[in-house]
């Protein structure tokens, strides 16, 4: 009550959450206040910096829409999304596919395509044609049939379909079911590095700290099968720029794979997703 010092104030604010009925919510709010106050005290935040932060957060909220989640971008670029991923999705088995972040461009209920189909929904004039194929297996290498693989990636211009002003709905997205041998295959184009949307507060932040806004080239995948833990991951292109400075901290060594030139000139990437039971 009526704190007169900084530490007394923090104690008073923490105590104001003592009557929270939900013990988890109480734990979260009290930890939040502790760390938020510790941050403000450590940097000796000024009035102007506080107001700047208020305005930054307000603009970040204003930037959000059905197809733009600026707070997720902020979380991504501060490494929080990757941390949440590490906290919750440790793979549980060294043999299993490592997870990485979901990102803001996933769309639920993409079209179910057939083995070997192309996810390119437009006339193929740009991008390097590529085939991605492999299996979904358990940690002992046994094939998992009827696993569902949800893939999505940017087009050759670095944009996801939902970012396009003239959107080709479902372009470069698709759901694939593994066959009885656990196999999947789809046609696509080689992914390209792309900048995260940088015309908002997060882009401003990155420029002000001399960080670039690029992600290493990757294909997103969510893989699930009954009786196995779902994995949300990326396949990164081994020859991509930015593998060591991905602006959202999503790269993991085990997820970097090679597009190999085939005799016919097309690219082939072979990759097995390994799921953990449970």
């Amino acid at each position: 009550m009526m704190a007169t010092s900084e530490s007394e104030l923090t104690t008073e604010v923490i105590a104001s959450f003592n009557n929270t009925s939900d013990p988890r919510l109480k734990e979260i709010m009290q930890s939040l206040v502790k760390h938020l106050h510790a941050f403000a005290r450590e940097i000796r935040i000024t009035d102007e910096e506080w107001l700047f932060a208020i305005e930054f957060l307000t603009q970040t909220g204003k930037m959000c829409s059905d197809v733009r989640q600026e707070f997720i971008l902020l979380s991504d670029t501060l490494g929080l999304s990757s941390l949440v991923d590490l906290i919750n999705h440790s793979k549980g088995d060294d043999r299993a596919t490592e997870p990485t972040i979901l990102g803001p461009f996933h769309v639920a209920n993409s079209q179910v395509l057939q083995y070997g189909d192309s996810i390119v929904a437009r006339a193929l004039t740009e991008g390097e044609p590529a085939i991605v194929r492999g299996r979904v297996v358990d940690v002992d290498g046994n094939p998992i049939s009827n696993a569902m693989i949800d893939v999505w990636q940017t087009d050759a211009n670095g944009l996801y379909d939902i970012q396009e002003s003239t959107e080709v709905s479902g372009n470069l997205r698709g759901l694939f079911k593994t066959d009885s041998d656990g196999k999947y295959e789809f046609k696509t184009i080689r992914p390209v590095p792309y900048p995260i949307p940088a015309d908002g507060p997060v882009g401003k932040m990155l420029r002000s700290v001399n960080r670039h806004e690029w992600r290493a080239a990757h294909i997103h995948a969510i893989v699930e099968a009954p009786g196995y833990r779902q994995v949300t991951t990326h396949i990164f292109d081994k020859e991509s720029k930015y593998l060591d400075s991905d602006t959202v901290f999503g790269v993991k060594g085990s997820l970097i794979k090679e597009f190999k030139k085939q005799p016919d000139g097309d690219l082939l990437l072979e990759y097995d997703f390994v799921l953990v039971q449970g």
Copy 2:
């Protein structure tokens, strides 16, 4: 690069700010990442909780408008605003008026009124009439003439003019200059406790943790004079409810004053603002 543990990830994210040109910005961002990650790790934040936080922040941003600053309310109710105040506005002299938070309802360039004028800009049908008077002095008690006192408060219904749907512009606001004896005086009504705007995310937060949304009754003041440090403060009504649980942690013992009943039935509050040189 390609962190595989939580602490490695935090180190990598902190390092990503190493090239920031502005040393202060670098310090702030690196401290922010350190404390934000420490918070997430301490509570072992889940995917669902992270998404809830993203949505909460987004809604908080969406709630902001020209007359509503939900992020300031959030800062207020988490005690951050009071902490920023303590960090930056230690009064510097035990004899000086203690500062407290600005709050989101200040309006720049209120009307300049004359000694003794009323700040009530509507027909006076509600509220207890009161006179507030006193002096602006230095820490040795010498009067400061030509000091400017910017006062604002809620109406009897607990709303500031800018919150009213049918606003009486400038109601319960005014600028007063001290006379040659450092004196000021204005007519008003007794302030009432009021709830902070609770129809948004912050109100939801308060209800979910069983906290009330009320502020103890007060009159806001910003006092400034050439050669003296400006002070942003409140005068709290000694008989108000919520003095010991003000939801934005703004109360300080030295700021609690008494409205005294005068023989004519009106209330009088006498208060000297004490400024520090510099």
